[in-house]
Structure formats: structure tokens, C-alpha cells
């Protein structure tokens, strides 16, 4: 049967009225914390704490290098196999050990940044993270990154959400949260 021969369907009942557009259910901000660099970590923590201060429901999906930032400060080597351990060795995890993307100069760059921050009353990423968590920002780790880097939930700081995947993050956005990628 060709398309032309297909029977014409005659509606016997009036079509139901199209449903009114549903209002977004998930307003607020959905940040992806992807980078583990000091400056970008700083920016993510500023936006997360400020977003909560504006009363916006705020979620931060923590993935790839961003997850290194959320490893407990006491942990030095993480991972199960030698490659995972070596990656952790090459880049020390924890929010207090972020390196700059440019001008790191073996720690001279971050040292000056922290010195300037103190001088100008800028809170550190660690302080902002604490505030953000206190204000109800939800930090959600990426399950795939945890698997790939061999991280366990015990490696991560207290108060993080259940590990999830990209679909969960995108569902926040689909439901109306504004996405920010850092």
C-alpha cells in the first residue's frame, strides 16, 4: 500500500485540546564543574554560593578534573590501579591543591593569588565551598568519572549527593534549570 492509497482517517471525536505548556518544574541553576584548575574552581564556587544566596535551587554536577577538587583533603593517592594512582600523584587532589592553568610556576602563581585574595577580602574556594554546602547547594559526583579515576565515595568530601550520569544532569536542564559549564 502506497501512501496515496492509505485510508483517510476521519476523526469521529474532536481532538483533545493540546495540553497547556507545563511550567518548568526545576527552576534554578545547574552548574557543571568540569575543570580542576584553580581559577575555574574559584569561579564555580563563587557562582554556586551566590546562586544559593539568590534563593535559586542550585546543583553542581562534578565531573572529570572537577571531581579531583572534591576529594577529601587528607587523601594523597587515590585510584585502584597504577594508572589511576599515577594520575592522582601527578595532580594532587583536594580543593586546597588546585593549580593554575597559566602561570602556575611550581605553585608561585597560586601562592600570589591567595595572597592577593586575602588582601582584597576574597574568600578562598574552600571557604566558598563550605558556605555553598551550608546554604543547600547540592554537589553531585559523576559516576563515570569516579569509575574512570577509581574514586570511591569515601574518597570524596562529606555531603555530596548520589553519583549520577549525564542524563540526570541534562534532566535538570530539560526541566528548566539554567546550565553553566565551568
Amino acid at each position: 500500500m502506497t501512501l496515496a492509497e492509505a485510508p483517510v482517517v476521519v476523526a469521529t471525536e474532536p481532538a483533545p485540546a493540546p495540553a497547556a505548556a507545563e511550567p518548568p518544574t526545576q527552576q534554578g541553576i545547574a552548574i557543571i564543574c568540569y575543570s580542576g584548575e584553580l581559577e575555574k574552581t574559584w569561579a564555580a564556587m563563587i557562582l554556586a554560593s551566590t546562586s544559593a544566596s539568590l534563593g535559586l535551587p542550585t546543583k553542581v554536577f562534578v565531573t572529570f578534573w572537577g571531581l579531583q577538587t572534591f576529594v577529601k583533603s587528607g587523601k594523597r593517592i587515590t585510584g585502584q590501579n597504577w594508572m589511576q594512582k599515577m594520575l592522582a600523584m601527578m595532580s594532587r587532589p583536594g580543593i586546597k591543591h588546585r593549580k593554575m592553568s597559566k602561570m602556575n610556576f611550581l605553585g608561585m602563581g597560586p601562592w600570589m593569588m591567595f595572597k592577593l585574595a586575602k588582601q582584597y577580602g576574597v574568600s578562598s574556594p574552600a571557604e566558598l565551598l563550605e558556605v555553598a554546602q551550608m546554604m543547600g547547594v547540592e554537589f553531585v559526583p559523576c559516576q563515570m568519572t569516579m569509575d574512570m579515576f577509581g574514586l570511591t565515595r569515601d574518597d570524596l568530601i562529606e555531603g555530596m549527593g548520589e553519583p549520577v550520569g549525564a542524563a540526570t544532569y541534562l534532566s535538570y536542564v530539560a526541566e528548566g534549570a539554567a546550565p553553566i559549564f565551568i
Binding site: S53, G121, M135
Partner: protein, 74 residues
Amino acid sequence: MANIVVDAKGLNCPMPIVKTAQAIKALASGQTVEVLATDAGSVKDFAAWSKTTGNELVEQTKDGGVFRFVLRKK
């Protein structure tokens, strides 16, 4: 006279806003918070914060380098 005072002098973005948001939680609707800040960006920021949160900016003055904001909780 405000119900609560937030001294955010010397603090930079975003701490004056963050401290105010934290302080206002303890207030009842209609009560006020007075914020003192030296961050020049806070003038625009408190206007934006007020607009988004619905907490009304009822007074704004400047004395030397210190900005003073009075906000009423929604």
C-alpha cells in the same frame, strides 16, 4: 533601626551578598537587615539580589567608602 546588622566591610564579591542571604534567614517577614559593605560592586549586586529574591531594598546610602543598605525581608 534594623533588626540585624551585617558587617561586610572588607569582604569582596560574593561575600556581602552571601552573608546577607544567610542573615536574612533568621528574620521574619517584614523585618529588616542593615548591611555595611566596602565592595563597590555591591551597589549593583544588592539591587539585583533584591529584584531576584523579592526582599525590598528600602534604603541605600554611602558614607566615605562604606555603602549601607537596608533590606526588608519579603
